[in-house]
């Protein structure tokens, strides 16, 4: 059992969880993930490790409540425990001295991009962050990014904060301004990652994305997380999760991620109904 030591909401439905996990904290590298189950009945889900401290023995996860399992995680408070936590899993981000690196996070994807930004900066790169959200309250980790990046550009779809537009527009602007960009890391919803890949492709900028296919074991055993990269089938859990954005079949990833949409919808509704009942019960008493 793994104890939660601190929690706070970073954005609506987006929660930061600091969890006691000394061994994982010592081993984890940027880009790696954990598989966890909040309860004995829960599904196994993968979450990229957002932060960690090997000395103090904790890791941080940033969770967007989308399905039943993530919504359950977002109910946790300090002192609660997580049933199962396995990791670190997957290949770490490839950190080299690229020169100028742009790290792009869309929504909660910023949480996954953050450790890679830290590692890139530590690896001697000039790091620029572009972190997007639908509106101001969905832009996360701005000050954390600012601590390691030379420049941080928040963007919002509605213009309520920072740059008005998509992260790709900001990236295009930087390229058009003639900024020399040697490396791009983009993490967010599939359409965003695909769009970033199309922006950088004509310029030949090395671009990596972190993929989020459906997984079960996270160790290469089930093959459920298979993705097509450069015409070859890869397992995101052991070969990835980071791949060359210019080689990824994003259509396939998007389609495969819909496999259980009906089931997930049903479980989410059920979860919301149960939560409303509980809330109603609290009000009455």
């Amino acid at each position: 059992m793994n104890r939660v030591i601190e929690t706070r909401f970073l954005a609506p439905e987006v929660k930061y969880l600091r969890i006691e996990a000394p061994k994982i904290a010592r081993k984890r590298k940027a880009g790696q993930f954990v598989i966890l189950r909040p309860n004995p009945e829960s599904e196994r889900i993968p979450l990229t490790i957002a932060d960690g401290d090997p000395e103090q023995g904790w890791i941080a996860l940033i969770v967007q409540g989308i399905g039943k399992t993530t919504k359950t995680l977002n109910l946790l408070e300090a002192g609660d425990t997580i049933q199962d936590l396995a990791g670190p899993l997957g290949m770490p981000s490839e950190i080299e001295q690229y020169g100028t690196a742009v790290v792009i996070g869309g929504g909660v994807g910023t949480a996954i991009a953050y450790p890679t930004a830290v590692a890139l900066a530590a690896g001697g790169n000039d790091v620029i962050a572009i972190i997007g959200g639908r509106s101001k309250e969905y832009v996360i980790l701005e000050s954390e990014m600012a601590a390691v990046c030379a420049e941080v550009y928040p963007t919002t779809d509605d213009g309520s904060y920072g740059y008005h537009g998509f992260v790709t527009s900001k990236l295009t602007d930087l390229i058009d301004e003639g900024r020399k960009i040697d490396y791009v890391m983009a993490i967010g919803p599939v359409p965003m990652m695909r769009a970033v890949a199309e922006v950088t492709r004509p310029h030949g900028i090395k671009t990596m994305v972190s993929l989020n296919p459906i997984m079960v074991d996270g160790t290469g055993m089930c093959g459920g997380c298979r993705v097509m990269v450069g015409g070859e089938t890869k397992f995101a859990c052991v070969d990835g999760p980071e791949f060359d954005a210019h080689l990824v079949d994003f259509d396939l990833l998007a389609r495969r991620n819909t496999a259980y949409a009906a089931f997930e919808h049903f479980r989410r509704e059920e979860f919301e109904a149960a939560r409303e009942c509980r809330l109603a019960g609290t009000e009455v008493s």
Binding site: S42, A86, T219, M221, G224, V238, R256
Partner: protein, 484 residues
């Protein structure tokens, strides 16, 4: 007393049949198919044993159980003594009594098998193990750890459990590391509830825990600790690697990434380990009710998958196999059970392409009709295409059960281990010793996909060799193992 029967009379006694759940009933539930012998039937079956002076059955057992002695004790209704005899060599009798291919091992070697039917050794093993469990369980006391030596066992499947048992009995401090959240490896994620109830695996593992074996779940060795770190950081004196063959093979035909195409590992893991068959399950599985499901393969895993699909309500649950039934590697009992449950067997077909709709969902498979040609390297007749005989079969889900390769997770972080061309680990078959000092390996990670009992045998041989190494401190160079 029955023992007064003559040899000839005993040979004439009929073999007891295994009571089963009715096929129609069991095809829609996940309860165990075989119900087990009654005490009376077990005694009657044991009386068939000729108590041969040179028992060939024992030569057929990969772990060398004293079969003659335990069967003799069953005939005398001394069930607890009988299970005690088995446990000297096999710590998991309730499991092996259910999943061993006895017809190829002990029972295949039984002298009665030549002229009559062999003694039902598997049924008897299961009976005495179940009898003990249902009557309060064995009297287990913790073993005193006295050698001061620490051994890490990586993987909690059959080879790891067998290895851990012998090591704890020898007085070593044993920790078993398991990557998943539940212990048992293939026994819990692979073999379905209807063939091996999970509670039985749990009970047998609990007994090891009582003896003093420590278990760590969610520990992915290679990631959380490399093999070197197990020695240098965690202070282990020896390591046994028994991680199985866990990387699924796919068909290598177009359309394999359509939604609805599962590896057998994924399909069975979702159903068995994650209990996706249960109403309240939080782990999803595609709804197979009234759907057409094709399972590619002809082994025990394929049978497990197709019978699982049937139980999940599939309208057609089909085995698609490229050779004929005679070449199927599955146990005869599994094939018979499957047929009784309404599984369709489509033999001599090979998939050319999996077909899907625009949304990326599987809709069918293009199949090539095959015929048998000359025998291949395995001695089985090689399937070859019948020119021009190609047809479509509409299916909603497919499960690929054509075998596994070893998972390279550990080898990748331990370059001084050696791999064969197939990705299996190089280890001495007699001692389990790898080229890396202090590291032993056994089971499917060494042999490629095999059986529970063969893995247990390898685990036991490695345990003996580990004890010898820890005692003597001598590590002889592993003889070079020729690659085929």
């Amino acid at each position: 007393m029955a023992r007064e029967l003559t040899r000839r009379e005993r040979m004439k006694l009929p073999r007891q049949e295994m009571p089963e759940q009715d096929p129609a009933a069991r095809a829609v539930n996940f309860e165990e198919v075989n119900l087990g012998l009654s005490a009376e039937a077990a005694v009657a079956e044991a009386e068939r044993c000729l108590l041969c002076a040179h028992p060939t059955c024992m030569e057929g057992c990969p772990v060398g159980v004293d079969i003659r002695e335990f069967v003799r004790l069953v005939a005398e209704s001394r069930f607890d003594d009988a299970v005690g005899v088995i446990k000297r060599d096999n710590s998991l009798p309730a499991i092996c009594g259910r999943v061993c291919p006895q017809e190829e091992q002990c029972e295949g070697a039984c002298v009665l098998a030549k002229k009559y039917r062999p003694v039902a050794i598997g049924y008897l093993e299961r009976f005495v193990a179940d009898h003990e469990r249902e009557h309060g369980g064995p009297d287990i006391t913790p073993v005193e750890v006295k050698t001061g030596k620490k051994v890490a066992v990586v993987g909690s499947g059959p080879s790891g459990l067998a290895c851990a048992t012998d090591l704890i009995k020898a007085g070593h401090d044993v920790t078993v590391f398991e990557a998943l959240h539940e212990l048992g490896g293939v026994l819990v994620y692979g073999i379905p509830q209807f063939r091996l109830p999970k509670e039985i695996v749990r009970t047998e593992i609990d007994q090891l825990a009582t003896m003093g074996v420590q278990f760590e779940t969610n520990a992915v060795i290679g990631m959380i600790d490399t093999i070197d770190e197990l020695f240098e950081v965690e202070g282990f004196d020896a390591v046994f690697i028994g991680v199985g063959a866990g990387l699924p093979r796919f068909l290598d035909v177009p359309g394999e990434n359509l939604i609805g195409v599962y590896s057998a590992n994924e399909f069975l893991t979702r159903v068995n380990l994650m209990k996706a068959y249960a109403e309240a399950a939080e782990t999803p599985l595609l709804d197979l009710y009234q759907k057409n499901v094709a399972v590619f393969g002809g082994g025990n895993t394929a049978m497990d998958a197709v019978r699982t699909a049937k139980r999940l309500g599939a309208a057609r649950a089909m085995i698609l196999y490229r050779r004929s039934e005679a070449e199927m590697p599955a146990r005869a009992e599994e094939v018979e059970h499957a047929k009784a449950e309404g599984i369709e067997f489509m033999i001599l077909v090979a998939p050319l392409e999996l077909e899907g709709n625009d949304a990326g969902w599987l809709t069918g498979v293009k199949l090539q009709r095959m015929e048998l040609g000359e025998p291949d390297d395995s001695g089985r007749r090689r399937p070859q295409p019948v020119e021009g005989d190609v047809f479509d079969l509409p299916i909603d889900a497919a499960v690929v059960a054509i075998g596994n390769r070893p998972n390279p997770l550990i080898q990748k972080t331990a370059p001084d281990l050696e791999e064969t061309a197939w990705g299996t680990l190089v280890a001495d078959p007699e001692t389990g010793r790898t080229p890396k000092v202090g590291v032993f390996a056994g089971g499917d990670i060494v042999t490629g996909g095999a059986t529970v009992i063969l893995a247990m045998g390898a685990g036991r041989r490695a345990a003996a060799s580990i004890c010898e190494y820890l005692d003597s401190g001598i590590w002889e160079k592993t003889p070079d193992i020729p690659e085929e």
